[in-house]
């Protein structure tokens, strides 16, 4: 049951973008078309889950036994960056179709704070390996949900010529993001 609450909570209540404000850069940068937004979201799911597993192993099996917990930021960044590069190389060889659909998004996620953020949240909450994976999966699905919704709204906004010139593009995008965030606040408190 706990796992279900972690999963649902990370999608809606603690949505990584609307509640935690992590990963806002790709959220605004890659949300002009629904298709690319989907690609980005799927790539984030992939990387986030992999990173959660790797960082959990690194933290509990390498850093903690040696009493070097304070090195987590440094080593997490190293692990995530190396992991993404490695996955990219392997995908290119093994599954060119998946590589093509994720291709350009994978390097973009390397330094995405959402990936580091979720790993750190897993650690701070004291999640076990399974809970970490579930939290990572939920968070990344929350990201997919947020970016696809945003892209859908922005596609409509871009057609509208009634928007004042000074607000077109990114400014109206930021206002939209703020409004969506307020909407998502309606979920807060539903799951403790």
């Amino acid at each position: 049951m706990d796992l279900l609450w972690i999963f649902l909570g990370s999608i809606f209540v603690n949505n990584i973008i609307f509640a935690r404000f992590l990963g806002c850069c790709p959220f605004l940068g890659v949300s002009t078309k629904t298709e690319t937004a989907k690609g980005m979201g799927v790539a984030v799911i992939f990387v986030l889950v992999m990173a959660a597993i790797m960082t959990w192993i690194a933290y509990y099996k390498v850093l903690a036994p040696l009493g070097l917990e304070y090195l987590y930021t440094l080593s997490f960044i190293l692990i995530i960056a190396a992991l993404v590069q490695f996955v990219e190389l392997v995908l290119k060889k093994i599954n060119p179709v998946l590589y093509k659909s994720l291709g350009i998004f994978l390097p973009l996620i390397t330094t995405n704070c959402a990936v580091l953020g979720v790993s750190v949240i897993n650690m701070n909450e004291g999640y076990g390996l399974v809970s970490s994976i579930v939290n990572a999966l939920g968070s990344s699905i929350g990201f997919l949900l947020a970016i696809v919704l945003m892209a859908g709204v922005r596609e409509q906004i871009d057609r509208n010529t009634n928007i004042p010139r000074c607000l077109r593009g990114l400014p109206i995008g930021l206002i939209t993001a703020g409004l969506m965030s307020i909407a998502f606040m309606g979920f807060s408190g539903m799951i403790k």
């Binding site: 390498v62 440094l74 692990i79 190396a82 490695f86 190389l89 409509q156 509208n160 010529t161 009634n162």
Partner: protein
Amino acid sequence: MISFSGVFYPTVVMGVLGLVFGALLAFASIKFFVMTDERVSKIREILPGANCGGCGYPGCDGYSDGIVNGGAKTNLCAAGGPSLAEGIARIMGIEGEASVPKMAFLKCKGTPDISVRNARYDGIGDCRSAVIVPSGSPNSCPFGCVGLGTCAKVCSFGAISMAGGLALIDHNICVGCGACVSICPKAVLALVPVSSNIQVICGSKWKGPDVKRVCKAGCIGCGICARTCKAGAITVEGNLARIDPNRCTNCGDCAAKCPVKCIECVVLKDDEEKKIA
């Protein structure tokens, strides 16, 4: 106080981690090395780089990859024209096929004084949004140009401007990529061969009397052009005249006889051989 182990262990751990990942990536880059064809990057260099998608591939990168690995034809890039097709063929080491240069063409003459305006549209200023609304198009002809300029916005080359409620295509700039043709919700734009100078400037499939009610310059399907044409290039299908560009001799007889003047001589590009005196 700084202890020896307090400095030593972190240094070793981070060093080892870095080494392990470095070695892993070095190993992966050799083990999972993928040969890339250098012709792909060579073709990519000579393509225009506008990423208009007119070739049917996702951008110039996709097209260059498609030529080398997907067996795509060398003459699909409308923006580059025949000289580019030749260049690609040279890189690929094959005999190229000449491309027929095409251009976007608006099949509508419905300015406000010619076609009846039946509604004022104040919604989102985009043709794709306007056509969803019942009679959302200011133009009462359901086949006519909506005139909100979605094609002008989508043109990567800036060849389309809006004039008198119609899309005005600058044929000196248009490269025939077809981006406007695919985005137009009314399908009132078409790609036509540059060499054809006689065009039917209407897309209405309505019967004559219905056309007359909404537009002064719409094709009524009378068939005078088909009877006039000596080359037999014109047929009337579904109340609309259609000219076969392969048989049309650009004589202009049909344009002279057309009662509503929806067939016209238009010079798409200043091509001396094909120009009508």
